[in-house]
Amino acid sequence: MTVGVEHYVLLSMALFAIGLFGILTRRNALMFLMSVELMLNAANINLIAFAFYHGNLSGQVFALFTMALAAAEVAVGLGIILLLYRNFRDVDVTVPTTMRW
C-alpha cells in the first residue's frame, strides 16, 4: 500500500479540522493563533502533496510563501495580542465586548 495523494489530502483535512476545532473552542488568543497556524500548515501539506502529484513546482514555491506570510501574520498578531493584554489585562478573546449589536 503506497502512500497516495489522497492520504495527504485526508491528513491535511484532518489538520484543518483540528485547527478549526481549536478556533471554535479556545478562548485564549494565543491558542487561537496557533490553531490558525495549524490550518495554514494543512494547506501547505496539500500544496506540497499536489505539487508532487502534478509534477510541477509551483505548489512548493507557494508553500514557501505561505510560510513567510504566516510568520508575518503571527508577528502582527502577537503585537495585537500584546495590546489586548495591556488594555484588558487578559488574553481571553471573549473579554473585549465593548462594541456589539
Binding site: M1, G4, L64, M67, A68, A71, A72, G79
Partner: protein, 149 residues
C-alpha cells in the same frame, strides 16, 4: 465528507475500513478506561493536589513569568528575518545554474534578490533606529519615554 472524491484505488477502501476500525478502537479504549476510573475513584478534593508539581518542592510565585519586552521585540525580529531565509533558499538553489546559462543575464538573476535584501535592510535599519534591537535603554530613550503623554 462524502463528496465526490474519486479516489484512484477504490479496491483499497477495504484497507481503509480496517484502519478506521483500528482508529475507533484506539480512541474507545482510553476513553473507556478514563470513564471507568472516573466512576470508581474516590473523590477527595484538596488544594495541594491542584498545586503545580515541582518534584516535591513548594512552588513559589506566579506560573507566568514576566519577561522584559525586549525579549519579545528581538524574538519578533528574529521570526521575521529568519523566515525570509526560506525565500532565499530556492533562489540560492538555482543561482549557479542561472549564472552559467546564457538565457539569463547576471542582472536578472541577481537584481531581484538584491532588491529584496535591500528592502529587508531598510526595514532592519528602521527597526534599529527605532530602538527595537537596543538591549538596554539609552538615557535619551528614557527621556523621550518620560516626555510621552
Amino acid at each position: 465528507m462524502c463528496m465526490r472524491f474519486k479516489l484512484p484505488n477504490v479496491t483499497e477502501m477495504n484497507d481503509w475500513i480496517a484502519i478506521g476500525a483500528l482508529a475507533l478502537v484506539g480512541v474507545l479504549i482510553p476513553l473507556g478506561m478514563m470513564a471507568v476510573s472516573y466512576l470508581l475513584r474516590p473523590s477527595v478534593p484538596e488544594t495541594s493536589k491542584r498545586a503545580t508539581y515541582e518534584s516535591g518542592e513548594i512552588p513559589t510565585g506566579d506560573t507566568r513569568v514576566r519577561f522584559n519586552i525586549q525579549y519579545y521585540m528581538v524574538a519578533l525580529l528574529f521570526l521575521i528575518f529568519d523566515i525570509e531565509t526560506v525565500l532565499l533558499f530556492p533562489w540560492a538553489v538555482v543561482y549557479l545554474d542561472a549564472v552559467e546559462s546564457d538565457a539569463v543575464s547576471l542582472l536578472e538573476i541577481l537584481g531581484p534578490m538584491v532588491l529584496f535584501v535591500t528592502i529587508l535592510l531598510v526595514g532592519l535599519a528602521w527597526a534599529w533606529r527605532k530602538g527595537a534591537v537596543q538591549w538596554a535603554q539609552t538615557p535619551r530613550q528614557v527621556e523621550t519615554e518620560h516626555n510621552r503623554p
